[in-house]
Symmetry: C2
Subunit: 211 residues, 2 copies
């Protein structure tokens, strides 16, 4: 099902009104693809959800494939921004930075519970976007690890594989404790996930507790 | 696309010959679903790959949905067995146990490179099997962590969230260093992944190196 016939979307709108309409269509597409999956989703239903005329769709997106791809990039960018905003709030140690990045991701995943389904479906609908999402996320983590190593706060031998390991921890903690959490325990669950990840990164799972 | 119309398969074959034919069909289904995805896969193509008469298919499986579900369970069980065999080879410390379990998983993923695609697609084709695969895998990891904690080799406060974190590390290291590794560097890549995971579990990512 790898697709090679992806259309491209027109250039992004230049006006504020255009940007708002494009945003409405992307949000409607999040709900549509999240609920119905790529194959059953329709452009007519996306425009209906957005309250936008069917014909306007093509001002912003080239096709159903094109809006799906743009949406994966948009969600991927949302993950990036959520972490960046949290990390900009205050100066943090390297370990606190990783904990804050995970907390921001868990909050984003709770608010956008469709994100797992949409990014996971991109493995089949648009494999390049799927791979790009994880490669970029791992690169950002690796950048933070290198910053921490340079300042002596983290081990000097951290490399790409450590970044992928940390990303995997975060993705699966998000799946279990944000997406699959029942509403009642959501806050406790997020806290438990953040503590678990942080304690592994701080000291591993062995019996010694250096702090 | 969550399916509720899954047929069930007949009881497993009682004869050795029957078990061999069922195995051939599952292996053919691995190739078929792995290459073409669930929607484009066909029972006719699975039986052709297996060298089995089309009509015989229904002796073993109720439908395309049923063989897909049985295949997810079969692959999930293959992951379990690959680790169990490796761990039975010799007595190991708790940290060596986790490293050996990851090495066994990476080897299994390299040999069965379709496993990611098939298990990932089960999120859409058969969500219950998808969830069961990860819940069972996390339970096994938690069991090992508790054994290690009981013998004083691991921290006493390890719980479900730590197991999910370790599972996520393993899944993403497998994606990057087994499935997406190019053939030439596969052995180096697996080694790098195993070292990264092990060093995080042994001592975290901080600058102190207690060993």
């Amino acid at each position: 099902m790898a697709r090679t016939d992806l259309d491209f979307s027109p250039a992004p709108p230049a006006t504020e009104r255009g940007r708002r309409t494009r945003r409405k269509l992307l949000d409607a597409a999040t709900a549509e693809f999240g609920e119905r999956g790529f194959h059953d989703a329709s452009i007519a239903s996306i425009t209906r959800r957005a309250g936008v005329a069917l014909g306007s769709f093509y001002t912003y997106f080239g096709s159903k494939e094109a809006i799906f791809r743009d949406l994966v990039r948009d969600l991927s960018d949302g993950v990036r921004r959520a972490a960046a905003e949290r990390l900009a709030e205050r100066e943090m140690s390297s370990l606190d930075t990783e904990q804050a990045a995970l907390a921001a991701f868990l909050a984003f995943a709770r608010e956008h519970s469709e994100i797992y389904r949409i990014i996971d479906e991109s493995e089949f609908v648009d494999p390049e976007s799927y791979r790009a999402h994880y490669e970029k996320t791992a690169e950002r983590i690796l950048g933070r690890l290198r910053t921490g190593a340079a300042s002596g706060q983290l081990r000097g031998d951290l490399e790409e594989a450590h970044a992928w390991a940390i990303m995997g921890m975060n993705v699966f903690l998000g799946l279990r404790y944000a997406v699959w959490s029942d509403g009642e325990n959501a806050a406790d669950d997020a806290e438990r996930a953040a503590q678990a990840a942080n304690s592994i990164l701080a000291k591993g799972i062995g019996p010694r507790t250096p702090d």
